[in-house]
């Protein structure tokens, strides 16, 4: 009997698109370095120094405080948990909003939740 085998490779990288939100719009300007430091602090609290080394910030947009993080597939769940539990930056309440998680960087290009249709009112 002929057996057909299908192989698919799992990507070893995992990309997060996240946004830092503050209560009452407290902070406006956070540099790239400080943002990376905050992400590392969040991971360090939950997963320690070894966990900290798995995360990297690929791109950061200071206007919307949005960033793309990259991590390995194995560490995805822990990073998700660490970002969720983060709640304070310089005594100001804040939170990381995780918009998209993908194993391919190109998937983060489009986001259907942000699409706006050009509807003209008659």
């Amino acid at each position: 009997m002929k057996v057909r085998k299908t192989k698919f490779s799992v990507s070893k990288k995992c990309y997060f698109r996240i946004q830092l939100e503050f209560e009452n719009e407290g902070y406006k300007d956070i540099g790239e370095t400080m943002f990376k430091f905050e992400v590392q602090q969040a991971v360090k609290n939950l997963c320690g120094e070894i966990g900290e080394s798995f995360v990297d910030v690929l791109k950061y947009d200071p206007l919307f405080r949005e960033a793309i993080l990259v991590t390995c597939e194995r560490f995805r769940v822990q990073l998700h948990g660490a970002l969720t539990l983060f709640n304070c930056y310089e005594n100001k309440r804040c939170a990381f909003r995780i918009h998209q998680i993908s194993s391919n960087l190109m998937n983060l290009v489009s986001d259907s939740r942000r699409m706006g249709l050009p509807i003209k009112s008659v």
Partner: protein, 147 residues
């Protein structure tokens, strides 16, 4: 209900000052040291995973420690042990000798390990009385073939 599986790590404490034994070292010092190292290297997640069954049994005479940890976290513990450079008030580090799934195999290895270590003690003897004691210990644990 599924059985809780554990791993037992047999570790040797090596002091940097060259001494073989420090009698002031308590079992709880080692426990806190291991726990703090886990908290530093693997954070709250690592501590929570390991603390389900972390316990330490110290056989102090030859500075051997047996650490019990759950099977999921034993790799975390191993990597955290690597970074320990101070235990209690002494500068020391762990040298992992053996990892096993039961206490029985761990203790078997421990007995064999001590047998292999005895001839090394013979070299360190200074007085003839000490030499006599060590030779007596060696002859008591090696089976003698009757011809």
């Amino acid at each position: 209900m599924v059985r809780q599986k554990n791993r037992y790590l047999l570790c040797e404490i090596i002091y940097i000052d060259g001494r073989r034994l420090h009698r002031n070292l308590q079992q709880r010092d080692i426990y806190h040291c291991v726990r703090n190292a886990l908290a530093k290297e693997h954070g709250e997640y690592g501590v929570a995973l390991a603390l389900r069954s972390l316990s330490i049994q110290a056989y102090f005479h030859p500075n051997i420690v047996m650490i019990r940890v759950s099977r999921d976290a034993h790799k975390m513990l191993q990597s955290a042990l690597f970074f320990i450079r101070k235990i209690g008030q002494y500068e020391a580090f762990f040298n992992t000798l053996h990892i096993s799934g039961t206490i029985r195999t761990c203790q078997k290895f421990y007995v064999g390990y001590l047998r292999r270590e005895l001839p090394k003690l013979l070299r360190e003897c200074k007085t003839p009385e000490e030499e006599k004691e060590v030779k007596k210990a060696i002859s008591s644990c090696v089976p003698v073939e009757v011809t």
